[in-house]
Symmetry: C2
Subunit: 304 residues, 2 copies
């Protein structure tokens, strides 16, 4: 089952060095979720040939422009492209007012339904669920209300072993019970579930930790995630500036990853002052070796 | 004296084929004016190495997103770049509300002064003036309030001929009078101005005619402009669609240029349905041969 994230924007507020403000597309089982939507997101979607029609849910972490200035353009383009499917938008309070005001002045009535779900960033809440995963907010500590999003797969059914089913002549009507882990009776003989099935893949999780001052408050919540995206706006030498602007450094991101025992760390939201990102990667790796740099257009797997 | 326009965005609402929504930079005597500011304008400014700090005036034609969705990003970036100079914004009513609402939610207080001049698009008005030119609005006929902008050079002083000044032993104190066309008295002899000066270059004009249904109402106002930018969203075969959406076709743009006796026509705001723009250019040229296609990154001179 596909579970991967493609970076559309890896920079902080000021676009520079060809890097764009924050936006990511998460693909889970061929269903796309958009995480943040900085200016130029719709252009990046085209550049990387991502099917925007497959996006039905958009999550906005907070109302700093570099995380949502591309949203109105995307919404308008969906309208022009004659989108029919409803679009769900999960965002802090305020964005609906902004959208409404723009569309009032432009006299725009969207052809599709835009369903806005306002989220309370002060506490962790499950805000979305489908058959395969849940999305829970991760409260961040930033200058304004801000939250990250935790995408966690649900426990999956046990995996049926077809050759064993044939061997024991198990009727097809028993498959449902087997998937749920029950033993079954065939011709008067009890066959243990473990003989007919195997463990499903472990559920995986992706944590998108958007803008935050260094904080360990959410470590428990992102414990052992397979891929932790954490902002690393600055190098360690700018730790003071990071704190002043409610952002994190490379080593602070690494510390969170380490404490949370994340399997892998992906850093992004780089300050415009850094042209070459290798130094940021190297510094992060001194504390947390399993780190990667968020590069626009690249896809990172969420894997066990 | 430089007078030229660089195209940053040549497409209509839906970005496509690598083309961006409307934005242009007009350079007059090394002073830059931004005309419209579609999504991605600040990224285009960087891509074409245009010094954004030289822009002190921004003109927005109307409040359809493809003409202003890049503005908030630009304003925010100026703030982050520690701009000190005031920025003047000329725009229809509503944009100030939109800016204020966004900045309220993001808790942004700009470090520089943003001076918003609301314009009434229902009638032509001079809205800007400096030593060299004036800017006048051109009322457009669009689905919402919309106006173009006419940049017209002022009459310049007569050009002094230094060798003649030496020949007639004209004192330097007389230069001011000569520039204004007066004859002067040297050693009791009247020397006609025409002997000492020559005509200045003819004043030039650039008309930016943003979104409009076909209309000849503003032909008088753009009479004999040196460069007429006119939208040509559609080919002639889509004339009905053009009318329905309050846009113009190639031939309609050519008709305006012809009636106005413009020296040159520049067409833009192309529908996403056109990949190859040569057909649009060819069709426009059948009525108005002195036509060029607006190509992003290219600069077009406003010349006699």
């Amino acid at each position: 089952m596909i579970f991967e994230v493609t970076i559309l924007g890896s920079n902080s507020a000021l676009p520079a060095h060809g890097r764009h403000p924050t936006a990511q597309v998460l693909n889970h089982h061929d269903k796309l979720f958009l995480l943040d939507c900085g200016e130029g997101t719709q252009i990046q979607l085209s550049a990387y040939r991502i099917k925007r029609s497959k996006i039905n849910e958009v999550f906005i972490s907070h109302l700093h422009g570099d995380h949502y200035y591309g949203l109105l353009g995307l919404l308008t383009s969906y309208h022009l492209l004659k989108r029919m499917e409803p679009l769900h938008l999960y965002c802090p309070k305020g964005l609906k007012d902004i959208i409404d005001l723009n569309f009032r002045y432009s006299d725009t009535r969207l052809a599709y339904e835009l369903i806005v779900h306002e989220i309370d960033c002060s506490q962790s809440q499950q805000i979305y669920e489908n058959s395969y995963l849940t999305v829970t907010t991760i409260p961040m500590k930033h200058r304004i209300a801000c939250c990250g999003f935790l995408f966690r797969e649900k426990e999956r059914d046990r995996v049926i072993l077809p050759e064993k089913l044939r061997q024991y002549e198990v009727p097809h009507t028993s498959i449902g019970e087997l998937k749920y882990g029950k033993d079954i009776l065939v011709n008067g003989v009890t066959i243990p579930n473990a003989e007919l099935t195997q463990d499903p893949p472990l559920p995986r999780a992706y944590a998108f930790c958007s803008d935050t001052i260094h904080s360990l408050d959410f470590v428990e919540q992102v414990k052992e995630v397979n891929l932790l995206y954490h902002e690393a706006t600055f190098m360690e030498e700018s730790a003071e500036r990071a704190t002043l602007t409610f952002h994190s450094t490379t080593k602070q991101a690494a510390t969170v990853a380490k404490k949370a025992k994340a399997k892998k760390l992906l850093i992004g939201h780089f300050s415009a002052k850094y042209d070459n990102l290798q130094l940021l990667l190297d510094e992060t790796k001194t504390l947390f070796p399993a780190t990667e740099i968020a590069v626009e257009g690249q896809t990172y797997k969420v894997e066990n």
